[in-house]
Symmetry: none
Subunit: 409 residues, 2 copies
């Protein structure tokens, strides 16, 4: 009987027929002997992550897959990014994502990314911990020009406007409250004061003086967006009793796993780009599940990004790269359930997410295999699981692990 | 990628096994090489228009298929018939369908259809525009003995009884309020005054005097039923951003399309009867979709009416007539999605609507074909779409057209 589970999510895996592939999808057209070997012994189905007719963003799709109803719990990107960067959020915190940008003395934005500055750690540290009106500002550097800011203290609201005009040669916007509450008014005013104060500090900072000397654009303003107020969430462990780990390259997915209290495990070569080391990720997952963890979430990104770039050949090739690494799962013990699916479809003909279903397969000693012989969109539509939704995924995993309590007698 | 859609609804198409057909349904028993050619390249499924265990009327079924929840928006037949006859309803109007009948001086109904009078245009014009208690009565002739009446003005209610006893040699009923509101009381009283006044006018009308001279029954009373109060509805275009046209023979279907703001396009020979010119209708639909329209709704009626008459042979023959015309869809461009389904089942063994599911198929370049090889009740139950409901139809169309906005990020 299975006692542990690996959940592999291939972002945007589902697709539509590609004429050049004889009307097969990239997944159907790819040579996937290893995945199909597992599919033959698996129970399969198709899944509408958020129900039919909904096109899911990756953030809300993952929330649904882990059993957190996004319509109830989604608070925008700010809190997820903050979690992804390692900030321990507290109930009531308002979190933002943002960029270090360049602003001139007239308040006009010269460059929203400060000349694609590669490291903003020193600049973020210079303004980290500022307190205004009793509110503490936590500022942490992300990758390249990116940063996360968290406002912590009493009486905050996330119902405020963004200060980022999202264009160059435009004025930095004043943050305004989006409702009549004193909380929104207070938060907007306090954020405006922070923007002014941090701009003064950053403008004089030696790191920027050095950049100026070298003819580089300075990072003298923090352009914030995506405000979201964190509310305490039941952790994945509290919800399911499973000790979870996350193996991912993309910050968003690390952030979601971290927000649910999973341990995010770094893997060498996990880049979230087509060059990512899928073998290293799968090997690490097997190591973790054979070790201390009950649940390992693996995320693979390029199936989505290559489809967003409308590159079916590259998407198919990346599926074959996943298949190559898939042989590693032959090392799984008898006590491990392997679930493979996607968060949504990204048809190459569209170059963006769609509401099409995605294939799903459950493999392991406790699973009832069906007659499906390969892992693909149309093959899995004939599977024993039928048509499920994202919210059904964790209950089925918990069922196979024997973790669903009895109702009635 | 598909950008436009044709939706073909064959009324009451679904059926049950017919012993004489070797236990095939009329659709399964019919020779349909053209439809099946499309089915082979389509994604199929079965649909419960209003969910399992609900026997849908054609009006509410069509509302659900177009994404208007009938439990929320259905206001009875009156407003639909009024729209179908070309009346532009205003918010608050109370609309009725009715007949011109014959009543004697004692108020006894001699004939509910005035000797199956074939044209009531002159009679309706004679009472059109009457005003009573500040309420304007709009009266328009329908086909044969049929008419539509709309009450327009302040303070109306549709919660009133019908004056039609639905039997001959019975007294015309007095309209009474069905609740305690002043609106229902006022509407009933005003309608009774209209019935009296119109009877006086009609009785003296030269058209009726001429009929009397010829020994024909006169149309001297308007027997109203199906009161419904119109509320402003979002149009189909507002809801979906699709410019829609309707190709139908039956007044009810034109009325529904018209109520949703679609353009109703007349087609020569479209009679809603078994003699209807299906080829003309399909040709017109192709012409419209290759022209200015994003969405064309085609309705075909006799599959339902022949089953209501318990004529499986004729139903099967009519399906073959549809198949013959279906070859016209070979002219569809690559950008067009074709969806074929029914509004409900009408089993010949019952002679009326049932809650059995109906087959559905989606055909077009963006569709993932499944393994189903023919269009029939049991074949489509194996399809890739699985089991859907009427409310899922437009979202799936909008998904394939790339019109579902992203939720989340």
């Amino acid at each position: 009987m299975v006692k542990k589970a690996i959940l592999l999510i291939c972002d945007g895996l589902g697709d539509r027929p590609i004429k050049e592939f004889g009307n097969l999808t990239p997944l159907e057209a790819a040579k996937t002997p290893n995945i199909d070997k597992f599919a033959k012994a698996a129970e399969t189905g198709v899944m509408y992550t958020l129900g039919r007719g909904v096109t899911p963003g990756s953030d809300v799709a993952h929330m649904a897959l882990f059993g957190y109803n996004p319509y109830e719990y989604y608070r925008g990107r700010g809190p997820i990014e903050a979690c992804g960067i390692g900030i321990k959020l507290e109930h009531g915190d308002v979190a933002f994502r943002g960029n270090l940008g360049t602003v001139n003395t007239d308040g006009l934005i010269i460059d929203r990314r400060a000349g694609r500055i590669t490291d903003v750690k020193e600049l973020c540290e210079a303004v980290d911990g500022i307190e205004i009106n009793g509110i503490k500002f936590i500022v942490k550097a992300g990758t390249a020009h990116r940063a996360v800011v968290v406002m912590r203290g009493k009486g905050l609201s996330s119902n405020i406007s963004s200060i980022d005009p999202k264009a160059e040669n435009a004025k930095v916007k004043t943050c305004v409250p989006l409702d009549d509450t004193p909380e929104a008014k207070f938060t907007a005013e306090t954020l405006n004061q922070f923007t002014e104060k941090s701009r003064t500090i950053l403008s004089k900072h030696p790191f920027n003086q050095e950049r100026e000397k070298n003819g580089d654009l300075v990072g003298n303003i923090i352009l914030l967006r995506g405000a979201g107020q964190y509310e305490h969430l039941q952790t994945f462990y509290e919800k399911y009793g499973l000790k979870g780990a996350c193996v991912a390259g993309g910050g968003l997915y690390k952030g979601i796993a971290s927000m649910f209290g999973m341990d995010v495990v770094d893997v060498e070569g996990a880049t979230a780009l087509p060059n990512t080391n899928v073998r290293n990720k799968f090997s690490k997952a097997v190591e973790l599940i054979n070790g201390d963890y009950d649940f390992v979430f693996i995320h693979v990104k390029p199936t989505d990004s290559l489809a967003e770039d409308k590159k079916p050949n590259e998407k198919r090739a990346f599926v074959e790269k996943i298949d190559d690494a898939f042989a590693i799962f032959n090392q799984l013990n008898d006590d491990t359930l392997l679930v493979v699916t996607a968060d949504h479809s990204t048809p190459c003909e569209m170059g963006r997410h769609s509401a099409d279903s995605v294939p799903v397969m459950f493999w392991g000693s406790s699973v009832r295999p069906d007659n499906v012989e390969s892992f693909g969109e149309r093959a899995c539509s004939q599977g024993g699981l039928g048509v499920i939704e994202g919210k059904d995924l964790m209950p089925q995993i918990q069922n196979l692990l024997g973790n669903i309590p009895l109702y009635g007698a």
